[in-house]
Symmetry: C2
Subunit: 129 residues, 2 copies
């Protein structure tokens, strides 16, 4: 079992994720509804979140705090996953530009103190790298 397996293993009930992220159940379900995350389900249809899911939720929270909307966040997260898959193909310029713009905005926001308490990626604290 490698790191990626560990990070994507369904482990946490929504109750725990609420505590870890300080999001509400409503928020978490809304983000799923809009396909920012896709947690597993138990045989009885209850959500089971992985470290990756929690990481994403923390990132979503940050980005929302910085004024991005769901669509923009979805874009960022998707791009991020592509990058992590190390696909070195020539990226779509439009998307790449958007990504850059969004990242710049976020960075600027940080400079002006809009970034709340650093919501780091949870799994960095738990999963070996």
């Amino acid at each position: 079992m490698n790191d990626q397996d560990r990070r994507s293993m369904p482990l946490f009930s929504i109750g725990i994720v609420i505590k870890l992220t300080e999001l509400t159940a409503r928020q978490i379900r809304y983000y799923e509804e809009h396909q920012l995350i896709a947690p597993e389900r138990t045989s009885g249809n209850q959500r089971l979140f992985s470290f990756n899911d929690v990481d994403k939720l923390l990132e979503i929270k940050n980005l929302l705090d910085n004024g991005l909307n769901i669509v923009g966040i979805k874009f960022l997260l998707t791009e991020q996953e592509k990058t992590e898959l190390k696909q070195q193909k020539a990226p779509d310029l439009t998307k790449k530009e958007l990504k850059q713009i969004l990242k710049n905005e976020l960075t600027e926001a940080g400079k002006y103190g809009k970034v709340s308490l650093r919501q780091g990626e949870l799994s960095r604290f738990f999963v070996k790298h």
Copy 2:
């Protein structure tokens, strides 16, 4: 937050622990009843297990497979915790001897192929050391 905090953080419902350890709910509750583990509880009284708890359960499973009984396992776990607290005080001879005997038995069992699939300590796979 340090490693020990992470390892003792209440994260997992009993359903997840059942899958992680391949123990039954009955077994897990029985071990708690006999104070081999002491998982946290939600406000509604449902158990929440930490990495440490899961580690202990895997160890309990191993020791049971090797013929130890609950009392012996409790002894071992207690001793182990003391050791981990780095208490360098002169140990109680009787207990030390028992520990040695039990460990030897376990080792011997291993030699004769009685040790099933190595149920390592879960958190070694998850928590940074």
